[in-house]
Amino acid sequence: MNDIVDPRSLDRPNSYIGRSVPRPNIRKLVEGAARYVDDVILPRMLHAAFVRSPHPHARIVRIDVSAALSIPGVVKAFTGADLAPHCEPWVAVLAHLKGMKSAPQRPLPLDVATWAGEAIVAVVAETRALAEDAAARVVVDYEPLPAVTDMETALDPATPVIHADLGDNLVFERTNESGDVEAAFRTAHKVVSATFHTGRHTGVTLEPRSILADFNRATGQLVVHHSTQAPHMIRDVLARHLRLPEADVRVICGDVGGSYGIKVHVYPDEMAVAVIAKLMGRPVKFIADRLESFSSDIHARDHRIEGRLAVDAAGRILAFDIDDLTGIGPYSVYPRTSAVEGNQVVNLIGGPYDFAHYRARTTVVLQNKTPTCQYRAVGHPIATAVTEGLVDLAAEALGMDPLDFRLKNLMADGSYPRTSPAGMKFEGLSHVESLEALRKMIDYPALRADQVAARARGIHRGIGFASFIELTNPSPFMYGIGGARISAQDGCTVRIDPDGTVLAATGVTEQGQGTEAIIAQIVAEAVGVPMSSVRVVTGDTLATPYGGGTWACRGAGIGGEAALRAGRATKEAALVVAGSMLQAAPDTLDIVMGNIVDRAGGAVRMPLSELGRIVYFRGDTLPAELPRELMQTRHFITTQFPFAFTNGIQASWLEVDIDTGMVNLLKHWCVEDCGRVINPMLVDEQVRGGVVQGIGGALYEHCVYSPDGHLLMGSMADYLTPMAAEMPDIEVGHVETPTRESALGAKGAGEAGTAGAPAAIMNAINDALRPLGARVFAQPFTPARILAALGRIPTETA
């Protein structure tokens, strides 16, 4: 009964794993009946707004809230000093990132503002509008300090140190090295190199960050409605830093309007709201508005990467040599830290390829800009762009077709398990099969023929590829071993109710990706009931097993396996009772579509509801010693591999207008291997959404700062997100290499699209521009940058 999941079982009843079934919880979304944090209204609720620093770096000299408090309906104002005694500061470092350092951070700073947009004073009022009126009337006198803005000079002796106690602006540095890189480059047939930039960008969740904290003085309980990916983690953080017993903190995460990594972090303004609720003993709501989202949601991917690649005369990759520099703002973000992105870059570069010599260094520095941290596909789009950009340069230098060059150098499909030169352990990947599948999907010869014909008409089309790996199903090696209280395990409780319906409570959360659907599919199949009989509970620390939540593509692989095991255990328990009732050996019985049946022949013996009736209401009729737990909990954690890597390849087909520098996306393809696919439709949509998020970073999205540290874009009119008209249709294909670490065999699928898309776009643009001798490596690839690369205009700063 506990075999690995076999998709060939699709033709059996209540076999849902592998099927494209609609999400049971989607109907509320299309009827406007979802419940996001801002939809929750509590009695005596107040609204918070923040006074934010207009300066990138400034000493706070004086704060005067008297005019603000004079407005009727404005209840209170809080400064950093007001909140500090009631909240332990935090320092976001991880022990396994050796030498990493950061400064203590508080809900509101005491003395110094360190980025433009940092919350300085909180005001609470009867409505958000009144709170904003009040914030506008708070007077803060600042003494501006020199700002650290350029990451290239952040470590220069002449540059001011942001946190004097740290001694310098260095957060973390690491060199990941194996083999003999120097020798490989010395003896190389060809060496190619480029400098890459990935533009700082941000998540722009359509539902802004949202929190409603409610402290009941009589019970001592803090209930927090929070738009978050990790309710148990937030509960742990609130309990420890507000000095409450963990059992007195309940985090409720209802519907979440998009997260993508943005909502897995501890934000000082949200901590301030929780502290204020505790101090005031009444509910306080904070919904970030779009203006403050841009300067206070985490940013990501502010990197400059110098890369070199060496190949031999046979066209084999010998070595990568990488120098990565990233600026993360003034604080490492709690509790995941802001060094992980750079660390991922040096772990993931070269990932798909078979070569021997590797050196990658990352340097993580502080700056007076919005803090950066983990955002969908952390580090992957950067590593993939660098790797695949260099790979295309090498293919070009050798005069080889980019797909042929990849085929020659990708890790062979039968060569696993193996460890990469960067030290990544791969259980089983399918680079070659994926590439061949993609080649078929795109009709490569036809595209190349079209490209030639178009060029003859003066139209410049390009095709770009990006092979990639993606880290999913993380073990405690990601955060836990570094001391962070971030759970890599997850659990699921499955309960059969008297009427035969099934409840499944899981520690993983729903952010729209379809977690509740796949848990329902797995549990329905594992227990043996129709999916319509399963209800899934997520996002409430009072009601769900302790788990890590949604991050790093772990919901299906970790949460799904726990659900499978809990479902199977519940079925076993039910069959023990059924066996007793029916005077049959439990292993001769089965549960199919909600009925107890004979395993042989399938004859229905009784409905599950009859079992429920007896167990819950007439337990007296069962033998006293008979176990009758129709509720089973199982937890799952990976132990054999630090991560379950997935792989895939993307292709972009586009047209560059060489007169305007504008890029027109014609089509995009992705073949990806996330192991066992539980719901192909949901996986496809994860890939598509991820691809478009990657396209955003590649072509549009950019948090542009002035040289003195002011964020120049602050609205959705000037921060350009991808919109429907410019996006291409995206075809998705699958290869399935299940992980053997679990019976389910699933790996993650949420970040593959974002990981590979920017590289594919970049390579397609450069493929289009190749006959013109132009190349671009700095994202976003704006019209002005493309025209400058073409020599049509001088390089100028906008």
């Binding site: 609609p22 999400r23 989607i26 109907r27 509320k28 979304l29 299309v30 009827e31 406007g32 009946a33 979802a34 419940r35 996001y36 801002d38 939809d39 509008a129 998540g203 722009v204 969740t205 359509l206 539902e207 802004p208 519907d255 979440v256 309007g257 998009g258 997260s259 993508y260 919904i287 508005d289 779009r290 952010q511 729209g512 990706q513 379809g514 439709m681 949901l682 949509e685 598509r688 959404g689 991820g690 691809v691 478009v692 998020q693 609205s715 959705m716 009119a717 997100t721 991808p722 919109m723 429907a724 008209a725 996006m727 249709d729 995206i730 699209g753």
Partner: protein, 166 residues
């Protein structure tokens, strides 16, 4: 000058009379005064499209309309369109095609799509994928990449055109 204004209007077919703060935009009015939380606030400056509702039969940005200016107006929201069944086929298509993920953009996306579909019905045409993309280009969706949304709208447009002919 008055900072509060009396308005009487029809919302989802119900007559509603309220005194509203002059600065309150239509989305806050719907959400805070009437408890109609299916309409969402995404940017409050007219770009994201999450607050799209119908006023006097045409779609508008709810954040760019003051409730005070709507005396006598007819307002329809996702709750009203759901209740009337007007977009039931579109909603079902979104469900079946997984054209919603986090759902925050979805009610507004549906209203915008319904606008296109009724225009298409008037013209007796099935809009192309490009025309669908163009029509929803003012509605930001971070989750789906838009492809599934375009599929769902296209499916309904085709189905409605087929019914019209038979």
């Amino acid at each position: 000058m008055s900072t509060s204004v009396d308005v009487t209007l029809s919302v989802n077919g119900e007559r509603v009379a309220r005194r509203v703060e002059a600065r309150r935009h239509l989305v806050d009015f719907l959400r805070l005064d009437l408890g109609l939380t299916g309409t969402h606030t995404g940017c409050e400056h007219g770009v994201c499209g999450a607050c799209t509702v119908r006023v006097d039969g045409v779609i508008v940005r709810g954040c760019l309309v003051l409730a005070a200016s709507l005396d006598g107006a007819t307002v329809e929201t996702i709750e009203g369109l759901t209740e009337s069944g007007e977009i039931a086929d579109l909603q079902t298509a979104f469900v079946e095609r997984n054209a919603a993920q986090c759902g925050f953009c979805t009610p507004a996306m549906l209203l915008t799509a319904a606008d296109l579909l009724s225009a298409a019905a008037r013209d007796g045409a099935v809009p192309s994928r490009e025309a669908i993309r163009e029509h929803i280009a003012g509605n930001y969706c971070r989750c789906t990449g838009y492809h599934a949304i375009v599929d769902a709208i296209e499916t309904v447009a085709t189905a409605r055109a087929g019914k019209g002919r038979s």
